[in-house]
């Protein structure tokens, strides 16, 4: 049975596995350094749809179909689908999932959706409430720009700290199994707010949340950093990655050797479009579903922490001059060839 240890961590007894994963990404991501690890990449931002929102839904649909095909199960075998995206009222996920006729709920935790969903999904499997849990997380550069920033054709200059929202969707199938990457524990994060108000510097807003969740996990489980090959944060990008290492160093925890960030590795940072790195639910979801799952399956990564980060802002809170509260959720994962 799932047990709570320490302040915020839940550990699992069953062999909860990420059975399979799939990811679809857009053109810029498909041209990036992780190109070969994505299942599908699209040249057209519209994916043949009439609107960008419909395009994001289509990406999720394709990722779900792909993960079902890989796992050789039908949609009727899914007991629960948990989805997350950035759009108001989670419309990207809703319109994607409606045709699959699955028991479903959406979570909002901004870009930390992927790790949060894995944690919730694992609790479903552990408790016996579900045999197969499907988790998806997505974002689209064009839908996010429109909701949070300016129209795409508006001539504005990006600040050097602003991250590019990843066009991508990742889908994960969770089930009890011994022969796939295992979810061992989850730490649900607390909201941290250090009064950062610049929406173009989300890495700085989210770094304290990531540092707090990683520190809490280590305290709760009494595990040592040396046990892990990789500590992967979600989408802190260039600025946030520097900050999370710095913040943890001040607490006596040096993650600099094992740390990497999905937002740092998804894009070529020399590209002027993405100098500060990537962000969005689709960032950590597509990097994990492709690149990381490959390494977990072939034994290159034996033990890792995946800490997805989310900046909990809205256009309303921004216009009202409020700060950007942030959260980070963490899952401990073991590769399958231990």
């Amino acid at each position: 049975m799932a047990r709570k240890i320490g302040k915020q961590t839940v550990v699992f007894d069953k062999n909860i596995a990420i059975l399979n994963s799939a990811c679809c990404v857009g053109k810029v991501e498909g041209e990036g350094p992780l190109s070969s690890t994505f299942d599908l990449h699209f040249e057209d931002d519209y994916l043949g749809q009439k609107t960008y929102e419909a395009a994001e839904s289509e990406m999720i649909k394709q990722a779900i179909s792909k993960v079902l095909k890989k796992s050789q199960i039908s949609q009727s075998d899914i007991d629960i689908a948990i989805t997350g995206d950035l759009l108001d009222q989670s419309i990207a996920s809703t319109f994607a999932i409606k045709d699959f006729c699955l028991p479903h709920f959406s979570v909002f935790s901004a870009c930390s959706a992927s790790a949060l969903e894995m944690g919730i999904g694992a609790i479903f499997i552990e408790s016996g409430a579900a045999k197969h849990a499907l988790c998806t997380a997505s974002s689209h550069f064009c839908t996010a720009e429109r909701q949070f920033r300016f129209p795409l054709t508006y001539g504005s200059k990006r600040t050097p700290n602003s991250q590019r929202t990843v066009t991508g969707a990742g889908a994960f199938l969770l089930a009890e199994n011994k022969n796939a990457p295992q979810i061992k524990a989850v730490t649900f994060g607390k909201i941290k707010d250090y009064d950062i108000t610049d929406a173009n510097n989300m890495g700085a807003a989210m770094a304290p949340a990531a540092a707090d969740t990683i520190k809490t996990y280590l305290e709760d489980t009494s595990k040592r950093l040396e046990d892990f090959d990789l500590i992967l944060t979600g989408d802190l990008g260039k600025i946030g990655s520097k900050l999370v290492v710095e913040l943890l160093k001040k607490e006596g925890i040096d993650i600099s050797k094992q740390h990497d960030d999905c937002g740092l590795i998804i894009f070529d940072l020399n590209d002027e479009k993405c100098v500060a790195g990537g962000s969005g639910c689709g960032c950590s979801a597509s990097v994990f579903a492709g690149h990381i799952m490959q390494k977990l399956k072939n034994g290159e990564i034996k033990k890792m922490l995946f800490c997805a980060t989310g900046a909990l802002l809205s256009p309303t809170s921004q216009n009202q001059g409020l700060s950007i509260p942030s959260v980070a959720h963490l899952v401990e994962i073991e590769g399958c060839k231990l």
């Binding site: 054709t153 001539g155 504005s156 200059k157 009064d195 950062i196 700085a204 600025i239 913040l247 001040k250």
Partner: protein, 145 residues
């Protein structure tokens, strides 16, 4: 750690803006747009327009060019390095109206285009008119004496 201490840490980690380079590109492209405007004005005068008509026609032509370049997704690409150079001239205002009109078209002609076309440029119109009103009153009072 206090918010202030963290803010110092963030300042250290931040990427720096290239102020001089940005200013140069803004000056260069902004100036180029003005040269184009003046050339158009001279050309219209050469073709027989009065000075007032030539000024109006050159503004309209610049607006038309900016809207076409916005529709072709070229204007934002120029703006990426031009910054304020493409924002400040009349072409920037045209871009600020055309881009939401394109973006919100899927939401319909009334609630999409109609309601959003002045989303970015609206404040410029509101405060442009308001400052006109304020300065009008000031000039009126000054003229009384």
């Amino acid at each position: 750690m206090t918010n202030k201490e963290y803010s110092k840490l963030v300042d250290k980690a931040n990427n720096k803006s290239f102020v001089l380079k940005d200013c140069f590109f803004a000056f260069f492209t902004g100036g180029l747009i003005c040269v184009l405007g003046q050339s158009l004005c001279d050309a219209f005068k050469f073709l027989g327009s009065s000075t007032l008509d030539a000024k109006t026609l050159s503004s309209i032509t610049l607006i038309a060019i900016a809207i076409i370049l916005t529709g072709l997704n070229i204007y934002p690409k120029i703006a990426k390095f031009a910054g304020a150079g493409t924002l400040v001239p009349i072409t920037g205002f045209a871009n600020a109206c055309a881009s939401p009109a394109i973006e919100f078209k899927p939401e319909g002609h009334i609630l999409g285009i109609g309601a959003n076309i002045f989303k970015i440029s609206g404040p410029v119109i509101v405060y442009g008119l308001f400052s006109g009103w304020v300065f009008g009153i000031i000039i009126y009072i000054v003229n009384l004496f």
